[in-house]
Structure formats: structure tokens, C-alpha cells
Amino acid sequence: MNASIATNQTILVVGGGISGMTAALEAAECGKQVILAERDTSLGGRTALLYRYFPKMCHPTCGLEINLRRLKANRNLRVMTQTEVVSVTGQRGDYNVTLKISPRYVNQNCTGCGECAKVVEAEIANPYEYGLSKTKAAYLPHAMAYPQRYVLDASIVGTADGEKAKAACKYSAIELDMQIETVELKVGAVVWATGWKPYDAAKIQPYGYDRFDNVITSLEFERLADPHGPTGGKLLRPSDGKEAKNIAFIQCAGSRDENHLRHCSRICCMASLKQTQYVREAYGEEGKSTVYYIDIRSIDRLEDFYQKVQQDPTVKFVKSKVASIKLHEASGDLVLHGVNTEGYHRYAEQHDLVVLAVGMEPESNGIALPADIVTDSSGFIEGSKDGGQFSAGAASSPLDVNRSVQSATAASLRAIQVVHKTSASEGAR
């Protein structure tokens, strides 16, 4: 993409998940010039990997489709994928940004016909399934991927597979010699919508995520439940592919814990309540869900979802932070040890699958932020001291989708204020 289009009237949005897309679209639909930079190969972020949303049990891709259509229809918005921010210098209203674009090895000629994937043999862990399945090393990220263009995994560049892929493409869309590009941009304001990442469950030692196959994260469970996921929507447990019908959901896996994340991740309670309904969806009265919790935080209108689930006879609630998980070697099941603190009831419950409601950690904890950026004790971004850079969505605080969009919309206006102030035009009347 040519950088010259960017001026100090341009807004840079970092991150193409639901928050970033929202922040970018809202500003663009107000007539502002926006660049949306996504590190990944396609837009959608974490929500694209969820099966359903609470509380409507609707599908994230539904909203994604609308946002993609808004985006396709808007001339003010430029999307850059596989693009990371290297540096931001300058100040409010006048930033110089350096972007690094990693090679996709596939250019805009790609029609999405899929011939390359047919001939490539190498497989890689599917990045869109948390590695629960494999995919060809030439792949379309997922059915809703935008840009709708294939990706060649760097691992097959310079191999026979790479050459095969290139030969199979009738549209000379494959460029094996693509290099990392660096782009310099001028922008007026920056919105950090870098989102979140699941807390590393292996660090929660008593739960043995790293030792027991049948202890998985809530995000992996989303993939299991999704008809487009690695198990075609069947709740098959990893150890032996057996249908998991008696499932434990452990809340605060990493959250509200000074040994891990000191904050409450807000969404996990609702996510687990939602997931108990996946179990019901799969087995009806046959399924069994047990939620181990400290406090159920189904805030505001979401309370009625909690009440609905409470009335579901297949769902049991135990007020307890599970102390430890032991493997039942014969069955591959897991035995959860702890005490229900409502009254003092010691338990050793056997489940065939354990889902850890892992907490939200700021994705930005992994990346180098500009020096001017202020973060809180957990690493969530408050914004820049000079007031020209803002955070949106889960980058700013552990938020659910609805509130992320709210936050992104607000961030969008704050960014508009900056470019408005620096614009020659006196703005609207």
C-alpha cells in the first residue's frame, strides 16, 4: 500500500479484531481517513474464533459479515494485514509511525480458487484452531477470512511444496520472493485495539493443563463446539476422542489471583454459562455441566441469562475455587478436589473433561509499546500522556464484545477530536 495517502489527518487503528474494526469503521463512516493495521493474515481477531456469543447465543461471524460489508463499501478505510507497529514518534496530531509488513507470499491476484492448497503437502498446526487441528501450509485462514486471499506459510517457502504451489497458481498470485516491507506513515492519532490473549493455563499448576490432555481452555472449548472446528462441533475430549458429557467449568483460571492475574477478567463467568448451553445443545438432558466459581459475575441485563442457566437441571453450581486436579489413570477422567464453601462440603468429583475459564491478559503485554503509553498494573492500556493515542476494547480493560464495541466507538471519537483539532478546516457546523 502506498504510504503517501496518510497525513496528520489520518487515524491509525492498531488491531483488526472486533474493537479495531469498529473503531476504524466508525471513524471512516464519519468521513475520516483511517488505516487499519492487523498483525494477523485476516481480520476478525479473537471473536472470529468463538462459536457463539452470550447472551443471545448468536454467531460472531454474523456481525463480522456486516462489518466486512461496511468495510468493503467504505473508501476512507485502508486495511493492512500482517502489519505490526514498529515505532510511533512525534506527538498528538503529528505522529510518525513505522510499520513492518510480513510477507504473505500471495499477492492481490489471488482469486481464492484454492488450487495451491490442493497441491501443497506440508501441514502446519492450524493457527485458527489453537493448534487443535492441522491445515495445509497453503491455506485460507477461515471461511470468513478477509482479505479472501490464501496464505503461504513461511515454512514452505524455498521448498518443493512452495514451488508446487507457485506452479499450481494460474494467476501468478504466488510470489515466493516476497520480503518484509517497512512503511513510514504520518498519522494524527492512534487507536490501540490490540485486544487480549488467554492467560497461559500451564502456569496454573494445580490444574495440570500441561500434564493432563483432558484439561483444556475455554477458548479451545469454543473450537470444539463450533461445527467448523476441528471436531465438527462434537465435544470430543483430546485424550481419546470420547464424547465428553460430564464437563467441569473452572472459573477464575488465572483471574482474581495474585499469583497470576490480579484483575477479574469479567467475561469468564458469562462465557462458562454460555458453554454449559453448548453441552445442553449437544446432549440435551444427557449432558452434565458443573461450574466451580467464587462469585458469578453476570452483570446488568446479563443476569437473566444466569437465571435461565440456574434453572437448567443439567447445570450444577459449586461455590469453590478448585484446589487441585488429579488424573484418574484408568479412565483418563479427572478428579477435582476442593471444598464447597457454602456450608463446608468436601468433594472429589470426577469429570471427563475440564474446561478452564482462562483469564484475559492484554495482548500488548507481548509487544513493545511506545514509551509515551500509560498502562495499568495488569498491562491494560490507558492511553498516551500526550492525549493523541487511545486504547479501545480489551486492550483497555477486560471487556466483553458489547462493551468493547462501546469502548471502540468512544475511542474513535477521541481520535476524531485530535485530527479535528489539527485540521485546517474549522470542522462541522
Partner: protein, 207 residues
């Protein structure tokens, strides 16, 4: 009701939480518990606990002084430190349990003849005397803690163990006469007495 106990009751009236915060080792942490129960589930002797640690904390907040201090719950602590490393609020639970036991013992309202209480007492006295633990005297003392007859029974019961250890040179009969000790046991005792004195002053046992 013992004297120290009466004084304590008078001093703190119905504010047991404050009493614990001021007089129990690490007691100021009790208020930070969020009742998740991970400590309760982590204890190896869990099912032997009349009240779990987290419940004890709640009882303290609820002012259930008598129930807490006369309970033998905290005497079940094996000092395995599972609760400490798992507590999401980083409460030093093991120490608080020790502190509660020590306080109940100090007020002399801990359960009479509670085995661990007795053993702990013997152990400390044994070490405090010479500066080092004399395992033989300690064991014998233990056997005889419930009186002579019982003592013989206990000793006989544990004979195999005892003899085994002797054979393995890990229990030396000669220890009965003398045995390992610190050089200047006198000032060692003074040191302990001094420490005790300071602590009593600090915690208001002596004014």
C-alpha cells in the same frame, strides 16, 4: 476460663477480628480472605479439619471467638504449605494456623491433651533446654506424656521402630545421658526468655 483469656476478653470485648490482628502471628491477613476455599481443598489432612482455614477466617470476622480458639482444627496443620502457595490472595495461611494454635495454647483454652499440642510443647521444651533436639528423650517423653502405663504401652508398640533405628545407628541409647547440646545453654535459655518477654509486652500479655 483462664486468667489470660479473661484479660483478652475484657481487652477486646466483642472485636475478635481486632484481637486476632493484634495478637496472632500474621493475624492482620485474616481480613484479606475472599472465601474462595482453595486452602480448604488443598490441606492433606483436609477431612480431619472441623473448620477449614477459610471458614475459620469467616468465623473470626463473625466474632466466633470461643468456637475458633477451642477448636482443634488448626492443630491439624502439617505445615505442608499447599494452602500458602495456592492462595489467590497470598495469605500466609500456614503461619496463621500456627499463630491461632499458639494463641489458643497461650491463653490455655486450646483443647486439653490435643496430641499435636502436647507434642509441640514437648518438642519445644526439649530443644529449649539444650539448644538442640534430643530425639531419644523427645520420643520417650512422648511415649510417657499420657502417664507411665500408657507410656510403656506406647514404647512397646513402637519397639520395632525404635530398635530398627538403633540398629541403623539412627537412634543412640547413649543420648539418654547427655547427648548433643549447645555450649552455653544458660544464655541460650536467657535468649529465649528475653524473646518471650518482648513478645508478651508487645502483645499486651504483660503490661
Amino acid at each position: 476460663m483462664t486468667v489470660q483469656n479473661q484479660q483478652a476478653v475484657a481487652r477486646y470485648r466483642n472485636d475478635f477480628l481486632r484481637e486476632v490482628e493484634e495478637r496472632v502471628e500474621d493475624g492482620e491477613w485474616v481480613k484479606m480472605c475472599m472465601q474462595c476455599g482453595v486452602c480448604a481443598g488443598s490441606c492433606p489432612l483436609g477431612n480431619a479439619w472441623q473448620h477449614t482455614p477459610q471458614k475459620l477466617f469467616m468465623m473470626i470476622r463473625a466474632g466466633k471467638r470461643e468456637e475458633v480458639l477451642t477448636s482443634d482444627a488448626m492443630w491439624m496443620c502439617t505445615s505442608c504449605y499447599n494452602c500458602i502457595v495456592r492462595c489467590p490472595r497470598k495469605l500466609p495461611i500456614t503461619h496463621i494456623m500456627h499463630g491461632l494454635a499458639n494463641y489458643a495454647h497461650r491463653l490455655n483454652i486450646a483443647p486439653k491433651g490435643q496430641p499435636t499440642r502436647e507434642v509441640a510443647k514437648l518438642f519445644w521444651n526439649n530443644l529449649a533446654k539444650t539448644g538442640r533436639v534430643n530425639e531419644l528423650k523427645f520420643s520417650l517423653a512422648m511415649y510417657f506424656k499420657d502417664g507411665f502405663v500408657q507410656g510403656i504401652k506406647n514404647a512397646m508398640a513402637m519397639q520395632s521402630v525404635g530398635l530398627g533405628l538403633v540398629k541403623a545407628k539412627r537412634l543412640n541409647p547413649m543420648e539418654l545421658f547427655g547427648g548433643h547440646k549447645c555450649k552455653d545453654t544458660g544464655s541460650f535459655n536467657k535468649m529465649i526468655a528475653k524473646a518471650r518477654e518482648i513478645e508478651d509486652r508487645k502483645k499486651g500479655f504483660t503490661s
